[in-house]
Amino acid sequence: MNRPVLELINVSKTYPGGIRALDKVSFELKEKEIHALLGENGAGKSTLIKIISGDLRPDEGKIIYESKETSFKSPIDALLRGIGTVHQNLLLIPSFTVFENIRLYASVLKQKADINALTEYFKIFNLPNNILTRKIADLPLSLRQKIEVIKILLFRPRILLLDEPTTSLTPLETAEFFNILKKLRDEGKSIVFVTHKVKEAMAISDRITILRRGKKVVTLENKGNLNEEELASLIVSEEYRMRQSVHNIDTIRESTKSGFEEYALLVENLIARDDLGAYRLKGLNLKLKKGELLAIVGVAGNGQKELVECLVGLRKFEKGIIKYFESEYRGVVDFCEVIKKHRVAYITEDRMYTGVAKDLDLATNIALREICLERENFFLDKRRLTRKAKEIVSKYGIKTPSEKALVNQLSGGNIQKLIIARELEINPLLIIAEQPTQGLDVKTTNFVRSLLLSKKGKASILLITYDLEEAIMLADRIIVIYDGKIVAEHSPENIDLRKLSKEMLGVST
């Protein structure tokens, strides 16, 4: 029987501001196991990981590591003592080479990196040796993730914490990754695998611990006996309600499926480069029919960002045509004109640094779009803007001390609501939504999704998402982007996930 290597007993953590992230949670990790930590956004998984990895200290409770009660002073301290963490935000410096990143860790940990182990790991992870001299910035996200894992493994941790490691991997890459994890477990490591995807937890883990709203719900042995629906209901009591609303969503979709004629957005042979001069869009074609919701799925880094930037005038394109309704653009889109003429809304992925001006107040941020709409007027009507801000705050349930508050006093979810509210308030005919529900809690996610669905029919929606479930749930059509081109099209009804993964990876079917 495997002995416990790490135990958390009745650990609690409250953030300043009163949010109780963990409430007397007990967690046990055995030797040679893969232990999944399952829960929705905001359940406390990240907090638990931060405590185990030494980033935070618990307010209450004990940590027992290697049979002794202890505490970790810092993530580096934890790593030195055998607990390595791979975060969602990779701790890699993009402008350094792989070698420099490893060397940095070696220097900080005051240890020599094991070069032999390095070559071994390169083999296991299927990486060429010359990757050492390449800059992280030149590598795709999946490779970067592998490098990060290898970097941690070089310092021989007993415990490996992985925070949502599969977000940017295709299903095939995920399977590959899982094989590596199993190998590591068999070599004697203990792995904590944080995820919100039930299927993954069931596929990889020996045990599953479910967290909900800061409390531990249960720890289950995973011997092939578990039921996905049951697990889902344990994760979120609202899951049923979400499933219900999924059914509602299905009915809405049925009713709006009436004939789509004409195109709201037409993209022909779009060719564009990224900031470093590399070609990112290599002849992209797409047609968005009026009234439909078209989802573009694909692994991050295949041109989604550049496509959206071209569509909204943030990037010039070398060849091709972008046509909003009757307005044709070559070279660059004058988005201000597009907004004015065709009422196009753009919900940006980067809410903190692009979507809002943080040090300005709500009313000004809401008026951001007014600039393009009211181009003829010279003077702005402060009173009307403040009134509008008040309306929006109450209509969308944005929590804020007042409309005069600065945006940087709002939480992430409320900022997203603000952005969406602002964009949808212009009664758009076309909506470009980039990752609209990323990082939001279940309630807000459902709110946003039903909002988008309700606009379908009146408006045409282009949804760019990495979340396949979201695409299947909302879209009338799904297209796959790979290497700067649209490579496939699917109807969400009877979709073959294996085929989809291959297309996302560029494997010819």
């Binding site: 300043p16 501001g17 949010i19 909204v312 005038g313 943030l314 988005f335 201000c336 907004i339 753009y346 940006t348 640094y353 692009t354 979507g355 809002v356 001006a357 943080k358 040090d359 300005l360 107040d361 000004t364 008026a367 951001l368 779009r369 007014e370 600039i371 393009c372 009211e374 181009r375 007027n377 010279f378 003077f379 702005l380 402060k382 944005i398 929590k399 804020t400 001390p401 005069k404 508050a405 600065l406 006093q409 709002l410 939480s411 992430g412 979810g413 409320n414």
Partner: protein
């Protein structure tokens, strides 16, 4: 280029106003202390200071006159700084305005005053505007840091001025490096013949403040500048023409500094001399910052600093103190102000919680 600051139109200006007053108080205290250290009678020094500043009709005239020059520069800087464009070149733009108005009024010395004066002022505006154009274009097209370019333009302007007054423009009848006097009809008409303060300076000093205020807070252009100043990315996202905005803010700022230079010639110096270079461009920066980049704050700060400058020069004359007391005072204002303001900001943000989660 510079960010992370909170602006006046957020109605949280109490902290900022407090910072302004505190730094001014500290600066003046240092001044008085230095009087004491120099061994002069503090009370009579303060009296002299008062008389030099606003104690006599003449000093009121001089103070308002100086304030108008400083305020013009600082109004322009307010527009530019609001958009986060750091125009350090006000000094050079001022010089070019002075040069242009001198050249024009000397060239057309037979035109009547009602044509010559507006023409000279306009050419001053144009000169300052054009001098800011190159740094603007470089910033927009080649992402060249505007602090470096505007500063370099200052040095170049200085040498152009030096060359002109020792060469082509030099008054043949004078031993000094200076231009001939501008024709008398180009002199800005005074309000009272005895005192130098003229109508145009006074009007500009007072009327521009509300005008700039309206532009920044009540027009779409102003809102665009504020958004640009908050974040260039967000400005692009909002569909703003970032290039046009950056260049406009620099041109406006350059124009106002050029106008200040023209007024210096037409209303104070009446000829081009190296002595017109008094660091007003940099004083303007201090005023704009201490005035919290708010036109009314700049108005108050200009008058205050102008009165201080005149008062101090009176004191220095009387008591044989080294000149330069003003410069050091300004620097103290600036350093104290930025320290106090950001310190207060830091302390207050520690108490602001994230609302809603």
């Amino acid at each position: 280029m510079i960010g992370g600051k909170i602006m006046w139109y957020e109605k949280k200006g109490i902290l900022n106003v407090f910072a302004s007053f505190l730094s001014i108080t500290i600066g003046v205290a240092v001044l008085i202390f230095s009087f004491y250290m120099c061994g002069i009678n503090v009370m009579s020094a303060i009296q002299t200071l008062y008389f030099g500043a606003i104690g006599t009709y003449n000093s009121i005239s001089e103070t308002l006159l100086l304030a108008s020059i400083l305020a013009l520069i600082s109004y322009g800087l307010t527009i530019s700084f609001t958009a986060n464009v750091w125009n350090i070149g006000a000094e050079g733009q001022y010089m070019m305005g002075a040069i242009a108005s001198t050249v024009l009024s000397l060239t057309f010395k037979n035109l009547p005053g009602y044509i010559l004066i507006p023409l000279s002022l306009v050419i001053g505006i144009l000169a300052g505007l054009l001098w800011a154009l190159l740094p603007g274009v470089l910033l927009v097209k080649y992402s060249v840091n505007e602090v470096l370019t505007t500063l370099m333009m200052n040095y170049i302007a200085q040498y152009i001025l030096s060359w002109l007054v020792t060469g082509p423009l030099q008054d043949r009848t004078s031993l000094f490096p200076e231009s001939p006097y501008i024709p008398s009809q180009a002199h800005l008409p005074r309000i009272i013949a005895l005192y130098r303060i003229n109508y145009i300076s006074l009007i500009l000093l007072i009327a521009l403040a509300p005008l700039i205020y309206i532009i920044i807070s009540k027009t779409y252009f102003g809102m665009s500048l504020r958004i640009l100043g908050s974040s260039r990315r967000v400005a692009k996202y909002a569909g703003l023409n970032v290039e046009k905005l950056i260049i406009s803010s620099l041109l406006i700022s350059g124009a106002l500094s050029g106008l200040a230079g023209a007024i210096e010639i037409l209303g104070i110096q009446y000829r081009l001399r190296p002595g017109i270079v008094q660091g007003y461009g940099y004083t303007g920066i201090v005023i704009t910052l201490v005035g919290n980049m708010h036109p009314y704050g700049c108005l108050l700060a200009s008058i205050f600093i102008a009165s201080l400058m005149n008062g101090i020069s009176q004191v220095c004359q009387l008591y044989q103190l080294p000149i330069g007391l003003t410069q050091i005072l300004q620097s103290i204002f600036l350093i104290t102000f930025v320290s106090v303001k950001f310190l207060l900001e830091y302390l207050s943000t520690k108490r602001i919680k994230i609302y809603g989660e």
